[in-house]
């Protein structure tokens, strides 16, 4: 018993001791202030005594305080979003402690400034200044889902309607190049007939990201004097789906398969365009003796690799055929009958891979071949061929057959290494092999070029607020037998919470065009130096930017006539372009309404081709503006897009050969009237928002030039210069209606409903 009591006592004592220990632990107060490395208070920083529950959150003055019963050596941790975590070893005795923290701002993607000079990034990339995504491209009023039409509503691009291509900041259409997954696209547009612009070959829905650079673009790209359109193709489709489309103009069908693990996909599409029915309803000015017809097929496969990389292949094949007859400018009775047959095959294979340790690799390759068979015939009123002798060679030259083959094979490798704090280096090289065969008047011109480029670029983040991008590109072209070195520099500085100032400088080189190299190989690179200064302010739903630029053109190609029949070329051309551009997009101020406004002022002159002196080129307007308004009316499940474009008149010239001494003179010149265009698109989506719909339908309709303005793009002159003919669109308006269907099942919604 005693024994037991003793033990009881002992146990009780022991328990009492334990409890006292527990209760008697003195609480010690720990407090202090949290500041950043510049001495600014940090609010809502979390202070934790490591491996205990004890800690606090800093208040609105950056101060914290808490009590703890812990004793001895401990680690006190301060952490806050956007800052590097800091630890301090402290010794807790019985006295209150004051521990202050100085924490350093972390350079992070969301906060850090980005270089915005020159480029309009679009798409879903977090870092990009999202301006246009694929839905935006598809719904630009009157744009008919053409990437180029949508880009024309951004500042820097001209409203040129008589030729395809983007005419950017005083640059000609061929000075803008398109790149898909890193490699150049040789024939981004359907082959066209003179004075009528054609569409781009690629649907906006193929791409998840689009960057329109109006100048100062990265050293990773080259051979574009003015501008680069950088397109990044989508990875895997969202689901397995079949689709079909029908319109008076075309019919198409396709299928996309995505495997269950969502790691691989393939797809195939076919489309047929025939405008005969449409042209019989909507009268066209030219006489189409062969109705435009196109067959287009494409196929793709894509799969994820083990390490989170991606392999993508895309191919598209198309044929086109058309014949068009228009009055001849030199005669009141004759007609020019122009016909075109085109075959195009484009292939792109790319591989993106994480190599570990911060290294990334991007391999791209592409092969394209494009064949055009063009012919023109002078015809009389009965459509009989007409021929002329040497005394009327300018007439006889209008009878021609031209066969053209353009092959381009490319391979490109880019390696990217992250160095921490967002700093990165990027380098790589590319090789292009191009073959161009042109047969005209039974003479074959064959051009083969082997082009190599090496490039390197570094992203340097000095702080979250100041960043620089330094790059250089080294190029060699075998056909020119010359090398060049193109430096590119850009800087960005953050102003306030949402604003930034950027500047960019770069030298850009481009090979002369094939039709110039056909006559002489004794040419060098054409060159443009870009200087850009930009301010941008971006808040949720709103973007404002203003950009000023100066461009200097050097070594532009000039045609040098040897006699009436023969010309050669040299690099003695020059020029400049300067201007200021504004952009404002607002999705926030008005509910369900999204609009943007662009304005470009351009002052440019160039002495190139057959210009006798520096002249404002015939594709450049001084003032260009666009207003795009879009609204989706939920109750009607209908979207409406309006686009109004305006440009002041463009100059036109009659440049005449005037003998060997004074080659060309300006026989006549003038300025076209102002250009106005209001385009409207309406689309109806009956299943909008219904994820269970097995069939999704979009009904789409659009009209260009609703107000019926008579556009004049320029003038063609007769040989004697006495008569000029306005270049106008083939019809006043272009109407489009179509129905698009897709069948696919969203399995996630099914699963939820099965649980009910």
């Amino acid at each position: 018993m005693q024994y037991q009591i003793k033990h009881m006592k002992q146990s009780a004592l022991f328990i009492a001791f334990l409890l006292t220990c527990f209760l008697a632990q003195a609480q010690v107060k720990i407090s202090g202030a949290v500041k950043d490395n510049r001495g600014k208070k940090v609010i809502s920083a979390s202070i934790t005594l490591k491996d205990t529950y004890d800690g606090a959150t800093s208040d609105s003055s950056g101060n914290y305080t808490f009590t703890t019963t812990e004793k001895g050596n401990h680690i006190l941790v301060a952490s806050a979003i956007g800052y590097k975590t800091v630890e301090q070893t402290i010794t807790i005795a019985n006295e209150p402690l004051t521990i202050n923290f100085s924490i350093k701002e972390e350079i992070n993607e969301l906060k850090a400034v980005t270089v915005t000079a020159g480029s309009f990034a679009a798409g879903d990339s977090k870092r990009a200044v999202t301006v246009l995504n694929s839905i935006d491209v598809a719904t630009v009023g009157g744009g008919n889902a053409d990437i180029t039409s949508a880009i024309k509503t951004l500042p820097g691009a001209q409203q040129v309607g008589e030729q395809e291509g983007l005419f950017v900041r005083g640059g000609a259409g061929y000075e803008t190049k398109q790149f898909i997954d890193g490699t150049l696209v040789n024939n981004p547009y359907f082959s066209s007939v003179p004075d009528i612009a054609s569409r781009g070959r690629f649907s906006p829905f193929l791409f998840k990201g689009t960057v329109f650079s109006a100048g100062g673009y990265s050293a990773l790209y080259g051979q574009a004097l003015s501008s680069a359109v950088i397109l990044e193709s989508i990875d895997l489709p969202e689901k397995t789906a079949a689709n079909a489309s029908i319109s008076p103009l075309f019919a198409g069908a396709g299928y996309q398969y995505l495997n269950k693990q969502k790691t691989a996909s393939y797809g195939i599409d076919y489309g047929y365009v025939n405008v005969a029915a449409y042209f019989s309803l909507v009268k066209q000015t030219p006489d189409y003796f062969k109705m435009p017809q196109f067959h287009n097929g494409d196929a793709n496969f894509r799969f994820k690799t083990k390490n989170g990389g991606m392999v993508k292949y895309y191919t598209t094949f198309g044929t086109g055929n058309l014949g068009i007859r228009r009055p001849d400018v030199d005669s009141s009775v004759l007609k020019d009958a122009f016909s075109l047959k085109n075959y195009n095959w484009y292939n792109n294979l790319s591989w993106r891979e994480n190599l570990g340790n911060g290294w990334k690799m991007n391999l791209g390759s592409s092969f394209s071949t494009n064949k055009d068979k063009l012919s023109q015939q002078l015809q009389n009123q009965n459509n009989q061929p007409q021929h002329f002798g040497d005394d009327k060679f300018w007439m006889q030259y209008k009878n021609f057959n031209l066969d053209r083959l353009e092959d381009l094979s490319q391979i490109k490798a880019v390696f990217d290494k992250k160095l921490g704090n967002l700093n990165a280096i990027r380098f790589g090289g590319e090789y292009w092999h191009s073959l161009n065969k042109t047969t005209i008047y039974d003479t074959m011109y064959k051009l083969i070029d082997n082009y190599e480029a090496l490039f390197a670029e570094g992203d340097i983040y000095i702080t979250n607020n100041l960043a620089a991008k330094l790059g250089a590109r080294f190029e060699h072209s075998s056909i020119l037998g010359k090398v060049n070195l193109a430096p590119r520099v850009s800087l960005a500085y953050k102003v306030g919470n949402s604003g930034s100032i950027s500047a960019a400088y770069g030298i850009f080189y481009q090979k002369p065009e094939n039709q110039q190299l056909m006559y002489t190989r004794n040419l060098g690179y054409t060159r443009a130096d870009h200087y850009i200064l930009n301010y941008q302010k971006m808040t949720e739903g709103r973007i404002f930017r203003v950009e000023a630029f100066y461009k200097k053109y050097l070594d532009l190609v000039k045609t040098v006539p040897v006699n009436y029949y023969y010309t050669t070329a040299n690099n003695s051309g020059s020029g400049y372009a300067k201007g200021i551009e504004l952009f404002w997009r607002d999705k926030k101020s008005f509910k369900n309404l999204d609009y943007w406004f662009s304005y470009s002022y351009l002052d440019t002159k160039r002495d190139y081709l057959n210009y006798p002196i520096q002249l404002q080129p015939n594709f450049a307007a001084k003032h260009t503006a666009s207003l795009v308004v879009k609204r989706f009316i939920t109750e009607w499940k209908t979207g409406i897009g309006l686009t109004y474009s305006f440009a002041t008149g463009r100059p036109y010239y009659n440049l005449r050969y005037d003998g060997a001494l004074k080659p060309y003179l300006i026989a006549d010149q003038g300025k076209t009237k102002n250009y106005n265009n209001l385009g409207v698109s309406i689309y109806y989506v009956p299943q909008a928002g219904n994820t269970n719909a097995k069939t999704n339908v979009v009904l789409f309709g659009s009209v260009t030039n609703v107000l019926g303005y008579n556009a004049v793009y320029g003038y063609n002159y007769s040989y004697d210069g006495l008569h000029k003919e306005a270049i106008t669109p083939p019809a006043k308006r272009f109407y489009f209606i179509g129905a698009f269907f897709s069948w696919g099942v969203n399995r996630s919604e099914d699963a939820i409903n099965n649980n009910l």
Partner: protein, 208 residues
């Protein structure tokens, strides 16, 4: 001998009790703090307190759950907060908890975080974040087909979707009804989430 055994038992249970008691007390204190929270700063402080408990315990998922819930609530009351940044924090807390115990409660929080991201611009973000929110619910229901909070959240999503887009009162009603039924039979465990019953009741009333 008995008292000795008794005292040993007492001793053991006291030490054990003091261990779990410390956790329970801290959690109860923090839950009280979360209950009293009125401002975004209060909610952030509660989230940090829960996270500290989670980091110290290392094997408990509930502190991370409550930390994530406190954080996601910031998104409902603070209109100006960057929803993408907030969602990244919420999802990071979920990931910490899911590494310990992946369950339906985290799915409900992921649903809310993605929904908040979608609401920034429903027309543009519906495709991405709307699907992410739906996928979170789907995963949650696979883990626990009888979690009432998942049905409450699904009901809210349907309720707030315009009728012409397949939502509305009529469609939401059976879902809220199911949530209410499930709340009635839900086993209530201390420190575990039980919220939502009153919310589901009032939403069901709105659907009548």
């Amino acid at each position: 001998m008995k008292p000795l055994i008794l005292s040993i038992v007492m001793l053991v249970s006291i030490t054990a009790f003091s261990q779990s008691d410390k956790y329970t007390q801290a959690m109860q204190k923090d839950l009280a703090m979360l209950d009293a929270a009125k401002t975004a700063a209060d909610l952030n402080a509660a989230a940090a307190a829960f996270e500290r408990v989670g980091d110290a315990e290392k094997t408990q998922w509930l502190p991370y759950y409550w930390a994530a819930l406190a954080k996601v609530r910031v998104g409902w009351i603070d209109k100006s907060v960057d929803k993408d940044k907030l969602a990244a924090e919420v999802k990071a807390l979920c990931a910490k908890g899911e590494a310990i115990n992946d369950n339906a409660e985290f799915a409900s929080i992921r649903n809310m975080a993605a929904t908040q991201q979608m609401l920034v611009n429903p027309q543009e973000r519906w495709q991405t974040y709307g699907q992410e929110a739906a996928a979170a619910l789907q995963k949650g229901m696979q883990l626990d087909a009888n979690n009432p909070r998942l049905y409450y959240l699904q009901g809210m999503s349907v309720f707030n979707t315009p009728e012409q887009f397949g939502g509305g009162k009529e469609k939401a009603k059976p879902i809220f009804q199911k949530a209410v039924d499930l709340y009635k039979v839900e086993e209530k465990k201390p420190l575990y989430p039980t919220w939502g019953a009153d919310l589901a009741d009032s939403m069901l009333a709105k659907c009548q």
